[in-house]
């Protein structure tokens, strides 16, 4: 990644108000993690070089694109959750970027305003904001939060004191009246983004946006489908990275590059080329989403000789499995379709949530998983609680399952790798 003529982005970062020395430290740490986790893998697909490049420029070129877009009057909207439809943001002419942070950073600052026993995801995004190291949030003209779990709900109040935040209210059940309520909330969101950009969401712009985002999901579906084959043509880590980048990158370009990667993977499947030995144990991961740069569990599993063949999470199948119907005529119809599709996502914040368990078991079959690893961040009540039902359902279906509770720190790596290795030996 050390090219000759490296552009110095420090002036741009300074303009954004980043804390430069701290930011340098963060980028250095991420670069090191990336090298250790990704670049040493053997027989990687060539298409991964695009993602390597995107990551190497994650605070560089991509931020420059956002910066230039805004300089021309464009608006950027940051989001934390799948339930905030990016189609609507795009249809109003804005760009959507995912903000969930996946690294332990600035916790000292966070713990001055939040309890220590808050999930790593929330602490991380607050830490990034408080220590001024995330250019994405600084480039966001508006951050759209949502009332999923209690922690996030309250965290947005604190974030709202530091940034322009709008909170979308979500129901907690999925009865018809709840879907109708969500549809109304999307109407509010529409007003909010239209006001931000000065552009009305039209049938034309919404149709285009739905199509573009669906195309991105279709590319990810193609990649996911190849992983069901043995040997798997791509490591779980690389596939996870592809999904993580989907939240940040330019949509049409990313789609094109992911389709190229999918072409290559399909060819590998046809040629029987894989990245792990034929006997490698195939693992489906389920649980709390893994925000960039959280690669810890995938790394442990694959360094222990297993291969991750699917992620039932928001940085995984929950993001790309379903498409928004493309045949809506009016804005009204399309918003209806959007609310139906999004209310079909099975987040543990909802009750009841049998749909998620069904999804997990179906995926385990489809990807030919030898075992499931259920991953939850410490203090993430929804996923930690649901882990017990998932465990029971998996055991009843005869699929071995290992429950893991962890955070972003490296402290428990030894213990985790012993447990993961023992699980791989067991199945």
């Amino acid at each position: 990644m050390s090219e000759e003529a490296v552009v110095d982005y420090h002036p741009m970062w300074a303009e954004l108000g980043l804390d430069l020395p701290t930011h340098d430290a963060l980028l250095g740490a991420v670069g090191q993690m990336y090298g250790a986790a990704f670049l040493k893998q053997e027989n990687r697909p060539e298409g991964m070089s695009y993602l390597d490049f995107v990551v190497s420029e994650v605070h560089g070129l991509r931020i420059k694109e956002l910066h230039d877009f805004r300089a021309q009057g464009g608006k950027v909207v940051g989001t934390f959750c799948l339930y905030v439809p990016e189609e609507m943001i795009r249809a109003a002419g804005a760009w959507s970027v995912g903000l969930c942070a996946g690294a332990e950073f600035g916790y000292d600052e966070v713990e001055k305003i939040m309890p220590r026993n808050t999930c790593a995801l929330i602490k991380s995004f607050m830490g990034f904001k408080l220590t001024r190291v995330c250019p994405y949030i600084e480039e966001s003209d508006l951050v759209v939060g949502e009332t999923t779990c209690d922690g996030k709900k309250k965290a947005y109040e604190l974030l709202g004191e530091l940034h322009n935040v709008y909170v979308l209210e979500l129901p907690q059940m999925k009865r018809p009246e709840d879907v109708a309520f969500y549809r109304e909330e999307l109407g509010e969101l529409q007003g909010k983004v239209e006001e931000l950009t000065g552009n009305a969401i039209t049938a034309e712009s919404l149709r285009t946006a739905i199509k573009e985002v669906n195309d991105k999901r279709r590319a990810l579906q193609r990649i996911a489908a190849t992983r069901a084959h043995s040997p798997a043509p791509i490591s779980g880590k690389d596939a996870l990275l592809a999904t993580q980048v989907a939240f940040y990158d330019d949509v049409p370009r990313y789609t094109q590059m992911m389709n190229a990667l999918a072409d290559e993977l399909e060819q590998r499947v046809a040629d029987g080329v894989g990245v792990a030995p034929a006997g490698a144990k195939r693992i489906l991961i389920t649980g709390t989403p893994m925000a960039l740069p959280n690669w810890k569990l995938h790394d442990i599993i694959e360094k222990s000789g297993g291969i991750v063949v699917g992620e039932e999470m928001c940085t995984g199948s929950r993001y790309y499995d379903a498409l928004v119907p493309e045949d809506g005529e009016t804005v009204e119809e399309m918003l209806e379709a959007i609310s139906a599709k999004y209310m079909d996502i099975n987040c543990a914040c909802f009750t009841p949530n049998q749909g998620r368990i069904d999804d997990i078991l179906r995926m385990a079959r489809e990807v030919n998983a030898d075992g499931i690893i259920d991953y939850a961040l410490n203090f993430c009540t929804p996923y930690q609680m649901e882990a017990f039902s998932v465990d029971k359902a998996a055991k009843d279906a005869g699929v071995p399952l290992l429950k893991i509770d962890t955070d972003y720190s490296a402290e428990d790596m030894g213990q985790l790798s012993t447990r993961v290795e023992a699980f791989l030996e067991m199945i």
Binding site: E411, D412, G414, Q415, T418, E421, E425, M426
Partner: protein, 257 residues
């Protein structure tokens, strides 16, 4: 072909040499010291074997140093315990730094397992710290516990908090035998609930360093529904399992399976 199984733990490095047929040729235990891989190296250099398999927390370091195969303690204890007691249905290993409970399938494979968290609650280390707080040796503390009629409830399992709790109780003039018993009881309770979580049934093999502690054995026996078996060489069960896994690998390689 002779094999050497090494269990490289935080407190000790255990070694077992096996002959072709699985007979134990030799066994040895050394202190881990500050450099467990170095302690392990002396066994490797002793020779008399063709293959080395390592387990324990130093297994990865050993793999890098001698290019040997590494297996987890879970697999090693399951293999070792079921070799000594073929009827075993579960294994409990309380070691220096961690506790493992393993439920076995009918043919001695791992069905489910659980490990303690990264802290030392309920492990050999915990007992050591508490013995020191009581002014006992480990043996004296076990004997005191056995001599007590009732145990004094200890509220904390955190090593640091429990240590100050124990010191406080001593200062208050509480009976040290009852405190000892209370400490053993709190570990037993915690261990028994892990066993319940993996649905462990008897016969249970109690291995690892703490299995040499008669007070602990008595409490586990009292609380566990099913037979509790303690191997004579409780401490080398992991090393034996590591060596056995090498023999099993040789056998599968030979049959080409």
């Amino acid at each position: 072909m002779r094999v050497l199984g090494l269990d490289i733990g935080s407190r000790s490095v255990d070694a077992v040499w096996l002959a072709d047929g699985g007979d134990i040729v030799d066994a040895a235990i050394a202190d881990s010291g500050y450099d467990p891989p170095a302690a392990a190296r002396t066994f490797v250099e002793r020779g008399g074997h063709d293959i080395v398999v390592a387990t324990g927390y130093g297994r990865h370091a050993a793999r890098e140093a001698y290019g040997c195969t590494a297996i987890t303690e879970i697999k090693a204890y399951a293999l070792g315990a079921s070799a000594i007691f073929p009827q075993a249905a579960a294994v409990l290993d309380i070691g220096g730094q961690d506790t493992k409970v393993i439920a076995l399938t009918a043919n001695g494979r791992v069905a489910d397992f659980e490990m303690n968290d990264k802290c030392a609650a309920g492990t050999g280390k915990f007992l050591e710290v508490m013995a020191r707080a009581l002014g006992y040796s480990l043996e004296e503390m076990a004997a005191a516990s056995l001599a007590a009629e009732t145990g004094l409830a200890i509220t904390s399992m955190c090593t640091v908090f429990a240590e100050s709790e124990v010191t406080g109780l001593v200062h208050r003039g509480e009976d040290r035998r009852e405190i000892s018993r209370g400490l053993h009881e709190s570990i037993a309770k915690r261990t028994l609930s892990s066993l319940a979580r993996v649905s462990a049934a008897g016969p249970l093999v109690f291995a690892g360093g703490v299995a040499k502690n008669a007070a602990m054995v008595e409490l586990i026996r009292a609380g566990f529904k099913g037979e509790v078996l303690v191997p004579e060489d409780a401490q080398t069960v992991g090393a034996l399992g590591a060596a056995l896994s090498a023999l099993a690998d040789i056998a599968t390689d030979a049959t080409g399976a």
